[in-house]
Symmetry: none
Subunit: 410 residues, 2 copies
């Protein structure tokens, strides 16, 4: 059972739109146990679309087309599929009723263009669109299927869930399920994680492990294919145990967990409070900590003391240290952490100072130099980092390093 996705739209080939539909459908197909070997994008061009459909039908059992179902002249999908499959467009009354009731429920008048959307290839079946005018289309050709879906994600996603996933499960019979488990690590470069689990990365199907490097995170994805969820979970559990034994402390979470969420969960568990004084990150660490629902339980205050005066007056950094060591220094990071902790009377004080760039660097203190400090009962820690990349990259890396420091020190 092989599937393939064809994304249609000149806007994709001009780079005006990022193709999130392909990733969404790929993920859904994987969960249904359908193998996806190709995804391709073509513009609003009948000849090239025809060619793509023919190539796809030659090598895949299920071809999913997205986009080009709208009411304008640019929308060529239905007509091109009709031609490529030798099934002329005919008015489908159930599709027409669907479109009419869509307009009626919104108290709007239907246009000729929208009525045109009820024409679908002969012997094809419409799929209801709750959130737009274009019905989806299912065409069966011997043992193969073509499915056309509308381009807007808010129409496509519910249509897939409600009308397409059940169809695929029924039409292509019982398929093996693919269950995935993502293990997320922070604080070790990809090469190091790779070395620790190299043998697992070479496991043959049906249970495999992939490695993905994100900005200062490395994710390991265990994928198990099996007839039942229970069987898949069992083979995942064995590998997960091995990975946990080898990587231990650098694992911060699983699946949809975020680093800020993991930090929040530890703070809640330990009933600790935190305040942040961040200079070069400009509020990013506070923003990430407060992205977590319920963060008001532990996050007391964020401070972005951008100017030296504010560092002195409101966080208690000493003018001497600023003069002697400079604003970007180990010393000032520590004083920011200790200062905000004392001022706010919290368990954890975090201080960050650095040079985000692109300007402001010197030979001794280059762009990307960042100090992260943490103050808690019984002592403080401070670390020096040298990050590369854009201003936003340096901010992001710094926030990752800071969140990881909280995680490791409480």
């Amino acid at each position: 059972m092989k599937a393939e996705i064809i994304s249609i739209g000149t806007e994709l080939l001009l780079g005006h739109v990022v193709n999130t539909n392909a990733a969404y459908l790929a993920g859904k197909l994987a969960c249904l146990g359908v193998d996806l070997y190709h995804q391709s994008t073509v513009g609003d061009n009948p000849r090239r679309l025809s060619e793509s459909i023919r190539t796809a039908l030659g090598r895949s059992d299920l071809v999913i087309l997205t986009g080009g179902l709208g009411p304008t002249v640019d929308d060529i999908t239905a007509a091109t599929v009709a031609k490529a499959t030798g099934r002329p467009l005919v008015l489908n009354h159930s599709a027409l009723n669907g479109i009419r009731s869509f307009f009626k429920s919104r108290k709007m008048r239907i246009s000729a263009g929208n009525e045109r959307q009820a024409y679908i290839p002969q012997l094809a079946r419409p799929i209801r669109n709750r959130l737009g005018t274009a019905p989806g289309i299912i065409i069966e050709i011997r043992d193969k299927s073509i499915i056309c879906l509308p381009g807007p994600p808010r129409e496509l996603c519910p249509m897939f869930e409600e009308g397409v996933a059940p169809y695929i499960a029924k039409r292509f019979g019982r398929l093996d399920l693919l269950v995935t488990r993502t293990i997320k690590t922070v604080g070790m470069p990809e090469a190091g994680v790779n070395r620790a689990v190299r043998d697992l990365l070479e496991l043959p199907p049906p249970t495999t492990v992939g490695i993905y490097a994100k900005l200062r995170e490395v994710h390991l994805v265990i994928m198990a294919k099996a007839a039942t969820r229970k069987l898949a979970l069992r083979s995942i559990a064995g590998i997960e145990k091995k990975i946990r034994r080898r990587l231990g402390g650098i694992i911060f979470g699983y699946d949809d967990d975020t680093l800020e969420g993991a930090v929040g969960a530890i703070l809640i568990k330990k009933k600790m409070t935190i305040a942040v004084a961040e200079s070069c990150t400009g509020g990013l660490i506070s923003s990430r900590l407060t992205d977590v629902s319920g963060s008001s339980k532990y996050f007391i205050r964020g401070a972005v003391p951008y100017s030296n005066d504010v560092k002195v007056k409101y966080v208690g950094v000493s003018r001497d240290s600023l003069k002697k060591y400079g604003a970007v220094s180990r010393q000032v990071a520590l004083e920011l952490a200790r200062g905000i902790r004392t001022v706010m009377d919290v368990d954890i004080g975090l201080g960050v100072t650095g040079i985000a760039g692109p300007d402001g660097g010197t030979a001794k203190k280059p762009v990307g130099l960042v100090y992260v400090a943490l103050a808690k009962e019984g002592g403080s820690v401070v670390k020096e980092f040298r990050f590369s990349g854009s201003r936003q990259d340096v901010k992001w890396h710094s926030s990752q390093a800071a969140l990881d420091m909280i995680r490791r020190n409480i």
Copy 2:
């Protein structure tokens, strides 16, 4: 001159990663005047990748491959291209030196896997990677070119700008250029912008206009194809003038401008300073304001007074108002704005309070209710918003509304 993009990575076909590289490259190729007719994605599978390369070389002059250049066994791009083109992998000393100096500058030891990245097809040329270990690869086969780029966007984008765009311009000579001009608006829904410029959206080539809705922004993209940049710019200028006349005040910038950058430019021009007291946005507004290089000139301090005590003690919100109106109220937003302005002695004080959700809403004060206030010499303004979506959506929408309020009131 036809180009084609092949994206490589099983993670793309499993839906673990959204293919932003394809959109980035598509946009860049369009600007260079290169026609892109196909984009396809294949997994880490040598046979299917070979097939894709052969198909692409059969119909396109320029084939760009992304991904699969890393140091692990999954990374099959260089070896597969070598095989498909009949050019065996050989050690390239310039590539090896690049990788070595990357590790040296970071004071890290080079691994065997990374040395392997210096092997590229015979007669190919490496492209320097400033931000990672994998060099890019350029292979010329008669009048066609294959270009391999690393998968991580932060490595791919600068490499394209610095090493690939100049190469394409030189190798493929004079092309009809596509020049685009993006006009960015904030504060009016897509339907309203659409109504104002409907006639322009239907212009025929060579100069067309597209409309794209982003989170609380609407972008209009003017695209002109012409033999010279000057000619293209001339036809763009005429349409741009019309759009500016019709949309005036809701336009905040052009092309790569960001809303935070536009706000920063106005603050610098007016020699004004700003401080922010943001509760529900949790530091996001400060972080966005400080994403702008040079923001230390106007951004004096960010405060994230998450708890009521901090609002009272450090920003000067009155306990009476908190009691009488609640923390999420017009009154408290105003006191945050006025308080931070007075405490910090800045020109502009911004105050934000709201319910980001998903918990904490009530019938009277639902999730998504947000107040944004601005205090300046001669008075204050405050606005109520009701946003929908996730916690992060509400935070983002609030930050957009706040930045727009600054823009409109100074």
